[in-house]
């Protein structure tokens, strides 16, 4: 079953949130920073929106994927690999814009926050529309849910779930979540251009003969998300506590071969 429940809009506001500007880090650092942010949002309740890119082409595995499943995708077998804490399939992070948004959760919430998928993806779809790109959620394409075998594809971008954004039949945006007791982290990838390491996945620029860049998109995504979530994003940097926590998490988890090969 696909998740087709109707969900009403999510508003956190009015409140102030923190915006971490577009920056580039290594694979383990990127995942550790997202985890450190989730930890701090769990403590403080202050939402955080972050945009980032990757220092080198990276394959990220979904939390429950087995490392040996990499054999299913030979084109990416030479690039570095990191295991996410979020669900879904593997992603080749290369010529893309990656975001993360972390928000507090009400006590006793259960399951995925589908409304957060919807609202973040709507902000990105509206931004893309400003640049002439018509991106729609998969649930509105009229295409039926994929069979289990199709949704077990190794690569996230070869799977389809309800809120994935699709352009000309190709998935260009997918997101995943990790919950703590009091907060949720959602991060996602917007494919701008085809990667040499996943040539079967066209980016928006190839699909529509455009030359969109991450820098062009980020301010508008933040603005639209500010309006829909009721959060006034203020540009900020990682706190010293977040930086030291991220360093620790990076060493102990994401840069560790034990973590990457745990399944």
């Amino acid at each position: 079953m696909m998740n087709t429940r109707a969900v009403s809009g999510l508003s956190l506001g009015p409140r102030v949130g923190r915006l971490l500007s577009l920056a580039t880090f290594g694979a383990a650092e990127n995942m550790a920073i997202d985890q450190a942010i989730l930890d701090s949002v769990s403590r403080t309740g202050v939402p955080v929106l972050r945009f980032y890119q990757w220092a080198e082409p990276t394959l990220s595995l979904g939390y429950f994927q087995g490392l040996t499943e990499r054999a299913a995708h030979g084109q990416s077998d030479s690039i570095c690999c990191v295991r996410r804490t979020t669900g879904g399939g593997a992603i080749v992070h290369d010529r893309e814009l990656t975001y993360s948004v972390s928000i507090p959760l009400p006590a006793g919430s259960a399951g995925p926050r589908s409304v957060l998928y919807q609202q973040m993806h709507a902000a990105i779809a509206k931004t893309l529309a400003d640049f002439g790109v018509q991106a729609v959620p998969f649930r509105r394409t009229g295409v039926g849910p994929r069979s289990d075998s199709r949704n077990a594809q190794f690569l996230c971008f070869q799977r389809r779930t309800a809120e994935d954004l699709v352009v000309s039949g190709y998935k260009v945006l997918g997101s995943a979540q990790r919950k703590s007791r009091t907060a949720v982290l959602q991060h996602g990838s917007l494919l701008l251009c085809t990667s040499l390491y996943s040539p079967q996945l066209p980016g928006i620029n190839e699909l529509l003969s455009l030359q969109l860049t991450a820098d062009q998109l980020v301010p508008q995504i933040a603005k639209i998300l500010s309006e829909s979530l009721g959060v006034d994003w203020r540009v900020d940097t990682l706190s010293s506590q977040e930086e030291s926590n991220a360093e620790k998490i990076c060493c102990e988890r994401f840069a560790s071969s034990l973590w990457t090969s745990r399944r």
């Binding site: 979904g62 939390y63 804490t85 006590a107 006793g108 919430s109 259960a110 995925p112 997101s175 995943a176």
Partner: protein
Amino acid sequence: MSRDESKLLYAESHEWVDLAQEDGKAVGTIGLSGFALEQLNDLVYMELPELGRELSVGEEFGEVESVKAVSPLYSPVSGKVIAVHEDLPERLEELNDDPYDFGWIVKVEVSEANSVESLLDHAAYQKQCAEAG
């Protein structure tokens, strides 16, 4: 015999626990509530703890994935894991139909009787679900 959900205790994080005496020991059988399973919608993975692991109240003892979201499972009681429902991760599609019998996840030998004092009875849990839903 079917478990009566109205007789169970519940954590705010939606795990249920059935407390009983087995061979002179206090044993808590733990699962996920029907409400939580409905919210989770489409479970695809579940990770279970190892036998013998010592758990404290509120400690993560497993994880589930649904709609690309990974959520921890929290222990409603303190104690040692003495049984694990090993078949469950391969049969998650059956969980929604029978969350209180087939859907047990682990059994814990409860080490602190007072660790259940903060749990909700069925009426209080129903109220929480109504407010969340």
